[in-house]
């Protein structure tokens, strides 16, 4: 796990850097959401039910991770941001370890990207830029804030480890109370956010901060020592492995291939969305209007989330119906073939619209 970590440098206690890293963490978790949602929405309604449940369960937990990161940031006096061109992720999106997130329809190549994101040790073959699906569809990569802050390729696990170590060091140097000076009223709790596998923990001190960060790593890509987290839920990597092998894990299975009943993955029952769609791809005014509708809803959702992270946790309540609306509007795009004539369909572009 430490193979690509830079040599140990004694950094001075720098709360500002911790805040920047945590802001980068919020953006990192946010960036996985459109990545997974495109795959989820591309499943044709009425098909791939179990596949959809599996992907959605991961999306919901990535949102939880974003909330947890924001709670830690708020606890040390920071102000989480998720709106505006400076913070909203763009695609293809490059993670600190070099992995590239493309917005793809649900497909075997996409499943490979899921596995790689959730397990950096996973020996996946990165998508060749010349692959027909993405050829010409990767004009520019958007570098994750985490990548630019770290300065050298770093795994996500190492990234969170730096934050945890940094918090411990700062608490020792400055005193815990001085470090965790944020207003407790800014914490998002399980009153307002529901995520299948876990609960948003209010963060008020070092123990709860490291607990929150451990939960992120535990549920997600980090702790591959064990397949199940402490709540007994399968780690994300293993959930996606079920999609790769089209079998579910039995409680008796080990970390290899699952041997349980079929999931019922049907790569054929998928809208063939164009890779990394952009609003500029839609010359047709109707298509463009449908795309703008999605992006307005996405932007409104992000505004609600930002409000929730900055003193109004109840702003997460309208986020629930907004997610339903986002899905319905995205489906309008996904059902429509592009005028290009090669059979590929439109899809949600997840771009920020200031006038939403």
């Amino acid at each position: 796990m430490n193979a690509t970590r830079p040599a140990e440098v004694k950094r001075p206690v720098n709360v500002k850097r911790l805040q920047d890293l945590l802001q980068a963490a919020v953006e990192l978790e946010l960036a996985t959401i459109p990545f997974y949602l495109c795959a989820l929405y591309s499943l044709r309604p009425g098909s791939n039910d179990e596949t959809g449940l599996i992907i959605r369960s991961v999306v919901v937990e990535e949102m939880l991770h974003m909330v947890l990161a924001a709670n830690v940031l708020n606890a040390i006096g920071g102000e989480p941001r998720v709106i505006g061109a400076a913070h909203v992720p763009r695609y293809p999106h490059e993670l600190p370890d070099g992995t590239v997130l493309d917005l793809l329809p649900f497909c075997p190549e996409g499943v490979e990207e899921f596995l790689k994101v959730e397990n950096p040790q996973y020996p996946h073959k990165a998508l060749d830029p010349g692959h027909p699906m993405v050829a010409g569809r990767r004009p520019k990569r958007h570098l994750a804030r985490a990548a630019s802050l770290m300065g050298a390729p770093t795994t996500i696990g190492a990234f969170y480890a730096e934050i945890t170590d940094g918090l411990k060091g700062a608490a020792a140097a400055l005193g815990e109370r001085a470090l965790f000076r944020g207003d407790p009223a800014r914490q998002v709790t399980s009153e307002y956010y529901y995520a299948g596998g876990g609960s948003p923990l209010p963060v008020t001190d070092l123990a709860s901060a490291t607990g929150a960060l451990t939960e992120i790593v535990d549920q997600g890509e980090g702790d591959l020592a064990s397949m199940y987290d402490e709540d007994g839920d399968l780690g994300h990597y293993y959930r996606f492995n079920q999609l790769k092998y089209d079998r579910t894990y039995l409680p008796s299975d080990d970390a290899g291939a699952p041997t349980g009943p079929q999931v019922g993955v049907d790569f054929g029952a998928v809208y063939p969305m164009i890779a990394n769609p952009r609003a500029d791809d839609y010359a047709d005014p109707e298509l463009r209007a449908a795309s703008d509708a999605v992006n307005r809803t996405w932007s409104r959702l992000l505004s609600d989330i930002e409000a929730a992270f900055n003193g109004r946790p109840e702003a997460l309540l309208p986020a629930v119906p907004a997610m339903f609306k986002l899905r319905d509007q995205a489906l309008v795009l996904l059902a429509n073939p592009l005028p290009r004539g090669d059979g590929r369909h439109a899809g949600p572009t997840f771009e920020w619209m200031a006038d939403h």
């Binding site: 449940l53 959605r56 529901y194 299948g196 579910t248 039995l250 009943p261």
Partner: protein
């Protein structure tokens, strides 16, 4: 919630016939599941016999039920379930008006009348919780002694305070969302500090609109003024866990059941599809308890219909239950099996429990098996509100009016609870399909005009369902007749039922109140009761249509002596020492609350006695004069 894969194939009729269980339970619904779970946790070997079909419970098979429902042209509460002549389920589509003297013998339930009941119950794994609405109000303290208090009904052999701790267990098992502050009225009390597992679900927009007209309305009954208020219902579906529950341990909602991990159903989404099936399994169904029971080692044999309960003629003890195991629901072929246990529990619902006893020639000394059949009498009233009210969102019913559930007036007329239906006129008129047909065929609308009319019509619909108390009446009964059998050779239930004046007096009052409430809301009363309807009742020169609620009860009442009841306060048969009859059939009255929560509470109470008894029978015997 994981349902252990392979659990429904762990045993077969032959293996079962070779085994002596500690407890044999007939019925895989909520009563059977709770008792099986409790007994297995106490180390007992348990078998559940389920008449209906049921493979391992998983999301795929649940989705099949949903697809059946979505694609059914006629959507009633049994529409998800394939017809199974070997474990037939009564359906509301079966019901016809009964001509006096000519019983309706064609559907599964033979109906003598005079009132044609539309009773339904579901015979698959999970039982009738596979179509219930999941409102979970408690009975009022006064519901337990209406005979002493009001001169109507029967007294229970214990009171609300005795059952209260078991209500808490039932609320935990089902997972109830409610706030104590909203549920403290008419004597309902809770131990200090008690909170429900999950916070109450909010009142819908429609409820709030109705509340603006209803709240504060004064009703005068026998000189006693009662003020009405719209109140949220306690619900057996998932909401926000209350962190103060269980001494601060909180509560983890149980979502969908499957043979592998799925994340679904952790919160109600307001899909408005509660009856029959919640699309995401946020609503409780007994599969959530069965999964735990099976995980504890309970044996489950499906497609096994209990045929006869055999007893020792001298001791009266049940020796075994003979059952018929079928492979194919369309074929009458079966294999005979025997289930033997130290104790036997009938948990097949009030009608099937009585049917089985009578078919086994086991009428009790009291003569009350099958008698006192009760179901709530529903009087539906529907109107069109003056403005769009958001009908069609939320659970089927989030709010209602409970102020007339209790009071001295019950000496003269039945009390009732009022449901505000979030799903519009559906139950009364077949909306929204009926609206669509009318707008297209009769009004010739199409396009945007059609869409606007649908919204205008459906979104203003208000249905108030008055759930009226029905006291026990020995003449309302289940009997059997060897002339009427099902495909497997089991005698079918024969129902004789009528509605009393006491209940109809409550219905008449309900009708007057509905008109008054509609007037206060500025709503156009569209209620109409047709003499051609199977549920038609004439009372006081007025027309009424009474519907049933499928809250089946009374057919093996509990009581204080073998002469006045079939079972004792632990739900054990007076006549057969190792036989228990659980479920609604044991309830002497049904008051004005949906009965499932009370059934569950009674199961926790009864299970405690069963465990004590089983342990006592298995304890070593101390001989007098021994060296101990």
């Amino acid at each position: 919630m994981i349902f252990p894969p392979g659990a429904t194939a762990l045993t077969d009729p032959d293996a079962v016939s070779e085994t002596l269980y500690d407890a044999v339970i007939i019925g895989g619904g909520i009563a059977g599941a709770i008792i099986a779970n409790q007994l297995s946790q106490a180390g007992q070997r348990v078998l559940i016999l389920e008449a209906g079909k049921g493979e391992d419970m998983n999301v795929a098979s649940y989705e099949d039920y949903l697809t059946n429902f979505y694609t059914a042209v006629s959507k009633d509460n049994q529409a998800p379930y394939p017809v199974n002549p070997n474990a037939a389920m009564p359906r509301s589509t079966d019901v016809r008006r009964i001509t006096p003297g000519q019983p309706d013998t064609s559907p599964y339930l033979v109906q003598n009348g005079p009132y044609a009941t539309d009773f339904t119950y579901t015979r698959v794994l999970g039982g009738t919780t596979m179509h219930w609405e999941a409102k979970t109000p408690r009975m009022l303290p006064e519901d337990f002694d209406t005979a002493s208090r009001y001169g109507h009904g029967l007294d229970w052999p214990f009171g609300y305070d005795d059952l209260e701790p078991y209500y808490q267990e039932a609320e935990r098992e089902i997972g109830v969302s409610a706030d104590v502050e909203d549920q403290t009225y008419l004597g309902l009390g809770y131990p200090p500090g008690y909170v429900f597992p999950m916070r109450g679900l909010p009142l819908s927009y429609l409820d709030q609109m109705v509340a603006r007209g209803v709240d504060g309305t004064e009703v005068d009954l026998d000189g006693q003024p009662v003020t009405l208020k719209v109140r949220p219902w306690p619900q057996g579906r998932n909401g926000i866990p209350n962190p103060d529950y269980d001494g601060g341990h909180g509560y983890t909602p149980v979502g969908a059941v499957s043979t592998h991990q799925v994340e679904e159903g952790g919160r109600c989404q307001g899909n408005n599809n509660c009856v029959p099936l919640c699309p995401v399994q946020a609503k409780y169904h007994a599969g959530k308890t069965l999964a735990k029971a099976v995980g504890n080692g309970v044996h489950l044999l499906t497609q096994a219909v209990a045929y006869r309960v055999h007893t020792n003629p001298v001791s009266g003890r049940v020796t075994h239950v003979e059952f018929r195991a079928y492979r194919d629901s369309s074929s009458a072929e079966y294999a005979t099996g025997t289930a033997r246990g130290r104790i036997f529990v009938l948990a097949a619902n009030a009608i099937e429990n009585a049917r089985l006893m009578l078919a086994s020639d086991l009428q009790s000394a009291s003569g009350l098996v099958g008698r006192n059949l009760m179901d709530h009498a529903y009087l539906l009233n529907w109107a069109l509100l003056p403005e769009v009210a958001g009908t069609g969102r939320g659970t089927n019913s989030t709010g209602g009016i409970t102020d007339l559930r209790g009071g001295p007036f019950r000496g003269r007329q039945a009390g009732f609870a009022i449901d505000i239906h979030n799903d519009g006129w559906g139950w009364a008129t077949g909306s929204p399909v009926s609206d669509l047909l009318h707008i297209v065929d009769a009004q010739n609308k199409f396009g945007p005009d059609l869409r606007r009319s649908l919204i205008d019509q459906v979104s203003r619909q208000l249905l108030l369902a008055f759930m009226i108390d029905v006291p026990p009446n020995p003449g309302n009964r289940v009997t059997v007749d060897p002339a009427y059998r099902d495909q497997l050779g089991n005698m079918r239930p024969v129902i004789s039922y009528s509605i009393s004046d006491y209940t109809m007096e409550g219905a008449a009052f309900a009708r007057r109140l509905a008109k008054r409430l509609f007037a206060r809301l500025g709503a156009e009363d569209c209620t109409a009761y047709s003499p051609a309807d199977y549920g038609y009742v004439s009372y006081g020169g007025q027309d009424y249509v009474i519907r049933g609620g499928n809250h089946l009860a009374g057919t093996h009442v509990m009581g204080t002596t073998p002469a006045n009841s079939v079972v004792d306060a632990a739900l054990r048969s007076w006549d057969h020492q190792n036989l228990y009859l659980v479920g609604g059939g044991a309830m002497p009255t049904i008051g004005t609350s949906n009965i499932t929560l009370t059934i569950a509470a009674l199961c926790f109470k009864s299970a405690g006695h069963m465990i004590e008894r089983l342990r006592a029978e298995q304890a070593p015997v101390v001989l007098s004069g021994s060296n101990q």
